[in-house]
Symmetry: C2
Subunit: 141 residues, 2 copies
Amino acid sequence: MGDYISMLKQNGLKTTFQRLYIMQVIDDYGHLDIDEIYSKVLLVHPSISLATIYKNILTLVEKKVIKEVPIEGKKSKYEILKQDHFHLICIECGSVEDCDYEELSGVVSSSSRHHHFLQKKVELSVYGYCKKCIDKINEKS
Amino acid sequence: MGDYISMLKQNGLKTTFQRLYIMQVIDDYGHLDIDEIYSKVLLVHPSISLATIYKNILTLVEKKVIKEVPIEGKKSKYEILKQDHFHLICIECGSVEDCDYEELSGVVSSSSRHHHFLQKKVELSVYGYCKKCIDKINEKS
DNA sequence: TGGAAATCAATAAAAATTATCCAAAAGGAA
DNA sequence: TTCCTTTTGGATAATTTTTATTGATTTCCA
């Protein structure tokens, strides 16, 4: 749980309750899409508008306070910006797990250099089945 | 340039001109989004409907004849299914370049296993500036 | 070649995203 | 604090994107 207020101030953004709570729920749950954020914020702030969610997500992404995680065939999810990592995305339940990127980082950036490509950021996603879903499938058989 | 007809037959799909040409332009250009595909197919088949593009993309993705390449903040692009590789995505001009995945593959899959995750496919995208755009920027200064 | 099944085009409908506009709130300066 | 400027939020409209429907056309195998 981070210091959302100073993260916002550093980027010249005003700290409204709506904005703070959007960051809060994203951080709490790790990875949420627009609808999930909306429904969770609605619970504690019933008057919030969906357009407010969209607007805030846009500005928070622009200011690099949060990060978009695009997902094949689904809506993008968003996460609080954190240390480099990659994602294990379950194609059964949709869960997203963070994974340490360390060992990979060197190989990827040297590969970018080799292609005369100026690397700014890396997005690595592994699609498959998470442990929970594997277990669930095994139980049935 | 592949044998589109047998790729379709293997998946029980009929080989219509529209479908073949959709595969053709994707293959020719490497990576295209829906609108790009539509406008290019329109040139040689002026009566095609945008809905036809959507429907075909959907079935071709389902049958794994083509693959979705999700891109942050933009529409997904599509590519003909080919050997594992990753993408260098230029945030200046939007170009997408394929890159050999070989060296990385082992590290990624061992990392998945370590998390008890059953890996099905990997999507790795590096965002940054391609050589052309770097040169263009340097010329100006 | 005939005919069932798949596909297409056109269009409507639905879903997702963005823009507009005015009231409300935030945050700095006095 | 209080005032004032600027940003933001909420409601809603507009736009964009995607999906569903329907009847006509095409594919392809027997």
